[in-house]
Subunit: 237 residues, 2 copies
């Protein structure tokens, strides 16, 4: 399953700490047309909560990845296709770049064939991930492009992830990152809530990520964003 | 010339800010038997000083790499085989992990075909590089092994560099790093001053780096360390 994400248009990020929207089941989530579920969150995560989501989704035809926020919550389960591990390139605290990762490698036997990193560029200063990582969100389009190029060429990152979690970002910055990359895959997350917003960002990003939308609005709204993302891919080809 | 270092046993690091030892010329340096010169330093570096060393060494049969300490001193010269750019994995300040690098990428057009990174693990707390980067040098052999594995597998680093600059390090930590690596090349620098010290560290490290020895003792002493390093390689095969 290595580099499966090169064929993806859309990801649903599932926070095991939050309820699904009223009336939705995990079967509905898996049938939205999304390419993959990325299971993870930053607050109050536990291994049990992670496992419950994996168990509910394993039988459907959608890729299942864990995005561990810290080494303690990593679930070892064959139902998972793998692990997408965040590293925050514009963090102010080194533990979010390489420090926590080193602790994980020290404590565990890592299965490198299915463990991959996502090079985050965190751009919404009001997001909890920005506070937690002490991210420097004051970045021009040129800065974002430089981070993307750096991540791919100096640090071998297969995925660059522009994260505006909580707000819709600046398409010009996403475009700048896209133009700076040769082969790495560009993820975009933040403020995607309908066909139009997904379609706009998917003009530049390879993969659109929705998270809050699932828990707050539900699977019908997610389906619209899947359509917006896949239509943009078709338009770009 | 990509990945030339996989065949190297020995590097001389030349600090353009320092004089050669009395009686030595750059021709003597290039004829010590070392595989490569790595030109760079951390203090008071200027492009002119760099260029003078390149000009003096270009005609000899030894690989020439610049190790830029900051973007302002990068020399664009075809006589260079390439650039080895340090990133300090146990730095306390993110600018030494990815920050200064991002500024360089933003300001310059990088020639990625001949630009490579060295993942430093800085282990002598009394060294100026440790102070400058606010490195956490309190690392067990297991920690060092974890950094090495992390650098290779999560951050695509072709070179891991154990740096004890100013003192002879703990061979057990170098051994631990060596055992943690699959394909990345292990550099060792610090306190190498004769055949024995070079031979001891080269039991574990792929490439031995000497720097101060060149400027303080001269080329004859360097030659001894080349022999110690190459003999160890022969013994390991």
């Amino acid at each position: 399953m290595s580099e499966a994400w090169t064929d993806w248009d859309h990801i649903v990020k599932v926070d095991p700490d939050k309820e699904l929207a009223p009336g939705d089941s995990f079967e509905d989530v898996c049938r939205t047309g999304t390419d993959a579920l990325e299971i993870g969150g930053t607050l109050d995560m536990t291994e049990e909560k992670m496992q419950a989501v994996i168990d509910a989704c394993a039988k459907y035809d959608v890729a299942l990845y864990q995005e561990p926020s810290n080494p303690a919550v990593v679930v070892d389960d064959d139902a998972l296709d793998g692990y997408l591990v965040p590293t925050v390139f514009n963090a102010g605290d080194v533990s979010w770049v390489v420090g926590a990762h080193k602790e994980w490698v020290r404590l565990d036997e890592i299965d490198w064939d299915r463990t991959f990193t996502e090079a985050y560029i965190v751009l919404n200063p009001d997001a909890s991930v920005a506070e937690l990582t002490e991210a420097d969100c004051d970045q021009t389009a040129e800065d974002v492009a430089a981070y993307a190029e750096l991540a791919e060429h100096m640090f071998g990152q297969p995925i660059v992830y522009i994260e505006y979690s909580g707000t819709f970002g600046d398409p010009e910055k996403v475009k700048a990152a896209s133009e700076a990359l040769d082969e790495a895959t560009l993820f975009y997350g933040g403020g995607i809530h309908d066909y139009e917003s997904a379609n706009t960002m998917a003009q530049h990003a390879d993969v659109i990520v929705v998270g809050d939308l699932l828990h707050e609005e539900g699977c019908e709204a997610v389906e619209e964003t899947v359509e917006g993302a896949t239509d943009a891919t078709a338009q770009r080809i």
